[in-house]
Symmetry: C2
Subunit: 577 residues, 2 copies
């Protein structure tokens, strides 16, 4: 499948639905990003995705990475592919202009990221971790650290990693064992083994900057005793000139279900030289600057997979001739009609489209709040972005995976055969539901920290903000009903969870889905309204109609699921499981 | 993961829930199958699954099959593994005793099959196609054909295949092009290329018997012009002694997402000698004898994957220490509590268990109807078995896949790494939703041929039969409510589909799920009742409670989805998709 950038849909969201270039005119730091500039960025990002990244996606899977004596070789063509990020400055898109970043709106960055993820997730992983580590250094580093690392991470001359996980410590970072010994010269000796380190070692850049969590001597137990360190692969002088090899080595790479082109390393730190970033024992908070960025980015991976799934399924359903329409042959000249005549095939296609396009609108919504939080006076925007991030991570990746599986199903037996590429899509996107905090963790974060902690006030405020936009009147009642259900369920949970502390965890996954579907409803009603009279009118009206009839009513079931007490899951004896 | 046969649960269903050995005492052909005999079969089948097949499952994936000059080599150990089928007579379990089959109840065969599928789906595929092709020959072959092939297929000395698909013809068999030219000696020259031929070539048996669909000259177009032929790999004399190689060769094998140990062949028939089986132009009906068997068997593959998923997830959730219980440390001695303390992890585990155990009960239900149809006077049983088969194929495999994905999710990042084995489970079971008729095809068969054709009468009669069994009183109301919903939806569809011919196809998938959940409700209510006072009481009560609270309410949403007209999917212009 040749990836085709969804430029029209992206422009529809930017210019017509959310009118962001207009909004940016009023923000000094973003006022350069006029409609024309924005369109040019999307067009060029789409070109890179389609012409450079996408053609390397199959070989990423078939060849994968190899490891020999600590040296990792990426698939053929990856060096040239990564060079496109460097040449185009794509990794510095939303970077700090004071350090050679381009300072573009986050929203725009999200839409470019979606295309990169859709075209080649293995290759873009080398990029996203650089962008995220730069963000962390920009937020918590010293002036010298910023000056040293940001320009090089933005340019792609060097890349970044996040070293959190240890074999016994994944979600539970409080129990990590990697140690940091202070040295007389102010540096630290980092010792320990980290696993699942994406881009921990590779052949695409001159240096690798590890952001590594470790414990200082006598630090408090648990998450309050973790500090963050910058550990470069190669030591460097003050001018950035590379020196001796630091003692941070890749011990091996993992054999994985998918994203074979991405090197997932076991990293051995053997008294490696590290530099503290941020305050001692405040490392987890620093790391979460990066983690929150990566969570949104991973959500965009799910969105990109959904778009790829759409393109796979739509193309095959038009091309493959099989069976006849119930109402009689549509292609009497051919031995059979295209798959597209079958209602169940259309159900699969429209499910993919409805979730993908609403997912893209949702991503824009998150990006907008991040831009407003960064550049505006609006304190609410930061809170909204935190409310929406776990949904972006979990719901976009869950629907991206489902979409890939549906696309594969459309292909019948051919969907199971490697050469068609759609089974790779399923394998590649599966990781997005797991890494950067499993989707179960996202659901618990959402229901606990983001909703119940303030009694649902932020959630209600966000819905109130969404309600300021015009929507298609024929969906007004359905949106209001869904929102009333969400509020009713939320208030019920506020009360019930006082006496049932396990309740939020027990219903977290269903609750996140309930909220996401409710938000998507208003987004579809909005898109259907805005598309009226445009070239997208028929498509948006049809997809909105499908969403309200065939997807939104899941909320009826979700409300019922959430009515159960936690006893239903917690009451079972451990010996019975 | 070491597979552990679910013997206790199987005995619970056979002896306690359905009391089948009792029922079989009244059937002369089955009266040998007393409780003791049945238990011995399950125990020995379980031993083969756990000790012989399961240890070969990882190598099936990592080594896969290889093809060289038309010769296929199966993974190391597969010859010895297949020999266990031969030595134990497992492939003739439900075979015709007149030809060395063991004549066991189909129900018992299903439960053994589940264990083989769970332990090693790649390897068991070589078995299931032999069993199915034997069934087809037993139903449609001449006395001579039966005498020649059945004993050898039952013993595993030879294996069988089903050659249906061509590159342009999968679901739509009416457009196949393979030709059969009558010869003067009464044989036929078969010419054409078939794809996706499981076990079409391999090194496990002395001969391979292809059941191949082809067109006779001047046959009517479409499905009414298809005939079925027996095409042996090696010619043989009347004593079964092998002679010349027939001109049916493997052109290549496919690279697939999973089931790597199963050889999926492109088969080239080049004027290969074939023998007509059944009447000319009645081949599709003959093939469907095998197809219906395989559909149930594939459902059991989904069930087996669900059981394996349960064992994977349960073991890991107990072993892996990560985080602390909301209510305070449960293992204060350890650095963290087991995953099992987390409500969302329990939700995943209980979802797997609730669907797997009800799925097993459902499989027994289908087997019972098949046994009653074969051995009893009850004409209704055949109709019921036809009603239930598409659900067994689609719902058991959909839930098997979901269960594998949930188990993988339980593992976090380790679930994505090959060495843990759970990602293989996901890849292996994915095919079950596709082959032997995609699950969309099953849903259309169910709603169209099995339900709406007689206005829902068979469906209602089946529910009435289920209602004869005692169930736990606390679930009586929920069962009746779900059944009332199913009947209401069905009668609505009967009326609405008169004017909306695309409606059944448009809602088929949701309707099948609605029916399956409704049947599962009564099965859980039954199991909860029967388990009272036994060692399984707590486990069954807890899982039933979970099912009714957290899974059955999906029916509220499904009813809403089905209220939509087909316009929602069919009204979208083809140029808009």
């Amino acid at each position: 499948m040749t990836y085709s950038p969804p430029e029209r849909d992206i422009r529809f969201l930017l210019h017509e639905v959310f009118r962001l270039p207009e909004e940016w005119q009023a923000i000094p730091a973003l006022s350069d990003f006029t409609g024309d500039v924005v369109d040019a960025v999307i067009q060029e990002g789409g070109r890179v995705a389609a012409e450079v990244l996408s053609p390397l996606n199959r070989i990423a899977d078939t060849e994968g990475c190899s490891w020999k004596n600590g040296v990792v070789t990426t698939p053929k063509g990856f060096r040239e592919g990564f060079a496109a990020f460097v040449e185009g400055g794509w990794l510095g898109l939303s970077g700090n202009p004071a350090f050679d970043g381009q300072g573009m709106p986050k929203t725009l960055g999200c839409l470019v990221e979606e295309m990169f993820w859709a075209a080649n997730p293995s290759l873009y992983l080398y990029g996203t971790l650089s962008v995220g580590s730069a963000l962390c250094i920009d937020s918590h580093g010293t002036a010298e650290q910023k000056l040293m690392y940001l320009p090089r991470l933005y340019s792609g001359e060097w890349t970044g990693t996040m070293c959190l996980t240890e074999s016994h410590a994944g979600t539970d970072l409080g129990i990590i064992r990697t140690r940091a010994e202070p040295r007389a010269d102010g540096t630290y000796g980092i010792t320990g083994t980290k696993i699942f380190i994406t881009s921990g070692e590779h052949d695409l850049a001159g240096n690798i900057i590890h952001l590594c969590l470790a414990r200082l001597p006598d630090s408090p137990a648990g998450t309050k005793g973790i500090s963050l360190f910058i550990v470069p692969k190669f030591m460097h002088d003050a001018s950035g000139k590379l020196g001796a090899r630091n003692t941070a080595f890749s011990g091996s790479i993992e054999h994985k279900m998918g994203i074979h082109g991405s090197a997932t390393n076991v990293m051995n730190f053997d008294n490696a030289t590290g530099y503290l970033i941020g305050a001692a024992n405040a490392g987890l908070a620093c790391m979460f600057t990066m983690m929150n960025y990566e969570r949104l980015s991973v959500g965009l991976q799910g969105l990109g997979a959904g778009e790829a799934a759409w393109q796979f399924a739509s193309a095959y359903a038009k091309d493959r001739l099989q069976g006849r329409a119930t109402t009689g042959p549509q292609r009497p000249d051919a031995p059979a009609d295209p798959l597209l005549v079958h209602p169940d095939v259309r159900r699969m296609l429209l499910t993919i489209r409805a979730f993908t396009e609403a997912g893209r609108a949702f991503a824009v919504l998150v990006g907008r709040e991040l831009d407003r939080a960064k550049h505006g006076e609006d304190k609410q925007a930061q809170v909204f972005s935190e409310l929406l991030t776990p949904i972006a991570k979990a719901f976009l990746t869950d629907r991206g995976f489902d979409s890939a599986v549906l696309a594969q199903q459309t292909y019948g037996g051919h969907g199971y055969i490697a050469e068609w590429g759609v089974e790779q899509l399923v394998r590649d996107v599966r990781i997005a539901q797991i890494y950067e905090g499993t989707n179960g963790i996202q659901a618990m974060d959402f229901i606990g920290r983001k909703v119940l902690r303030d009694g649902g006030a932020t959630l209600e405020a966000f819905v109130a903000q969404m309600r300021q936009d015009d929507i298609h009147p024929c969906y007004e009642a359905a949106c209001v009903e869904a929102e009333a259900r969400l509020f009713r369920v939320t208030q019920g949970l506020v009360i019930r969870s006082r006496d049932d502390v396990n309740l939020p965890g027990a219903v977290a996954t269903d609750y996140l889905e309930l909220a996401a579907l409710t938000f998507y409803a208003r987004l579809w009603a909005r898109m259907a309204k805005v598309a009226e009279g445009t070239d997208l009118a028929e498509q948006k009206a049809a997809t909105a109609a499908f969403f309200f009839a065939r997807l939104l009513p899941k909320t009826y079931a979700l409300e019922r699921f959430i009515e159960a007490t936690s006893e239903v899951v917690m009451g079972v004896g451990t010996d019975q499981l």
